[in-house]
Point group: C2
Amino acid sequence: MRVSVTGAAGFLGRHIARRFRAEGWNVVGIDLEPFDEDGIESRVGDFTDEANAIELLEHSDVVAHVGAIGDVYLAGRKPSLAAKVNVVGTSNIALAAERHGSRVVYASTWEVYGSPEYEPIDEAHPTRPDHPYNITKLAGESLLLAACKLNGISAVALRLGTAYGPGLRQNSVFRIFIDRARDGMPITIQGDGSQARQFTHASDIARAFVLAAGSSESGIALNIVDPRLTTIKELAELVTQRIPTDLTFGDPRPGDVPSSYVSAESARTTLGWTPEIDFVDGLTEIIETS
Amino acid sequence: MRVSVTGAAGFLGRHIARRFRAEGWNVVGIDLEPFDEDGIESRVGDFTDEANAIELLEHSDVVAHVGAIGDVYLAGRKPSLAAKVNVVGTSNIALAAERHGSRVVYASTWEVYGSPEYEPIDEAHPTRPDHPYNITKLAGESLLLAACKLNGISAVALRLGTAYGPGLRQNSVFRIFIDRARDGMPITIQGDGSQARQFTHASDIARAFVLAAGSSESGIALNIVDPRLTTIKELAELVTQRIPTDLTFGDPRPGDVPSSYVSAESARTTLGWTPEIDFVDGLTEIIETS
């Protein structure tokens, strides 16, 4: 079986491509630039172009569609770019999948829900995204799932928790806290640090993609979120326990997504997915290997 | 005061541009092709290009953003085009409005709600769009309203009922029914004809745009929907009473939006808007003038 992973040169795409490879799949990694990864075919292209998307996904049994403007700050600065990549691009992936009969597993996000109306948040919870990142990710998801009903494609959307793990991008809160502590600078928390996140390890997310690729479920979204709630203040303290430095507090970040508790119970019953990496172990690994 | 109307050569854009003109505004009509309309400056351009959008909206106090892939069938056949025009395009309009300090009034749709969870549907009702048309219209709306909070622009979204009036496009249910009856062909209803719509006259919609342009409300969506529910079967019968022909029934249209009852109470209290055109009068006018 052959899987194409879009955004394979990115943090999450790389973890997912490796995992498919480890499970015996033939893996094609698609990105804007060539990249070098053992046992993975690098294919260069741009899925925001419809014809190119169709060409790129030829002979794919499965497409793990991870490529996106996944950097919340970049999406906020360039909302039209986020719309082009995350909405037009995902629509093109759906068209290409229809053409080739490929199944799609889409990287969506827990941030599509907005402020919780009840908790834990399951997949039936209303979606009220309010930032170019989560708005465009939800629109891509909706177009993909609509294509299941309207055009007969097979697809699932995985609404991922905040991903972390080795290889995180430089402007992630993990890397910022660790790098500042290493440089002997104080760690600044935006707001009071009480915002909680369900940090979910890239390796657990990658396993969910493989499980979803092999499942016959279609037309649905599933939360792929670690149950552990960690506050930003707790994350900062875990870092400073390992690399001592000061903690300071700054202004809240505009448009920051509020805390909420998301349940992955459907993923457990549907895919047999539960997370395996303990958060403190995962964080320690990042500190020790970076 | 100067208003720019995007999509001014289209059915709804033309009604809206004329109404602003009648109320004493300086009106610039923007579309892909030049058009000829008394007292309205025609400006040709493509707002799916960010730089072009910024250039097109120079010196606009208000932008009535009506330009879209508004044809549901076309959006279904070309979802990536709908995503480009309705999502990327609206994001560009928001950026241009931020640059020029223009207020935006956006043509959204009642179809963003999906199946009703309670009725009448007010603006707090969850949104669960399931077709490329309503998915992309909602994403455009969400990006615009997010820009109010994140970038300080002034904008409202009007969630319009199914628009009708003189100049409707050829593939609208009104034109199809009237044209077939005139040709002596039977009118075919897709499904059992019990689907109900709140047909809202273009002239009433145009008045809502003028009221919204002059209001200081921002960051909100308002339903602009006529309270009268008309079934497709009733519409067909009203046509055949005036132009006698047979009625037949065919397969339901895939992805057809289910009936629901939408309330415009917020528009009444916020803008002072209530519809003025009686549906039977409006339909009779279309039959008599086309």
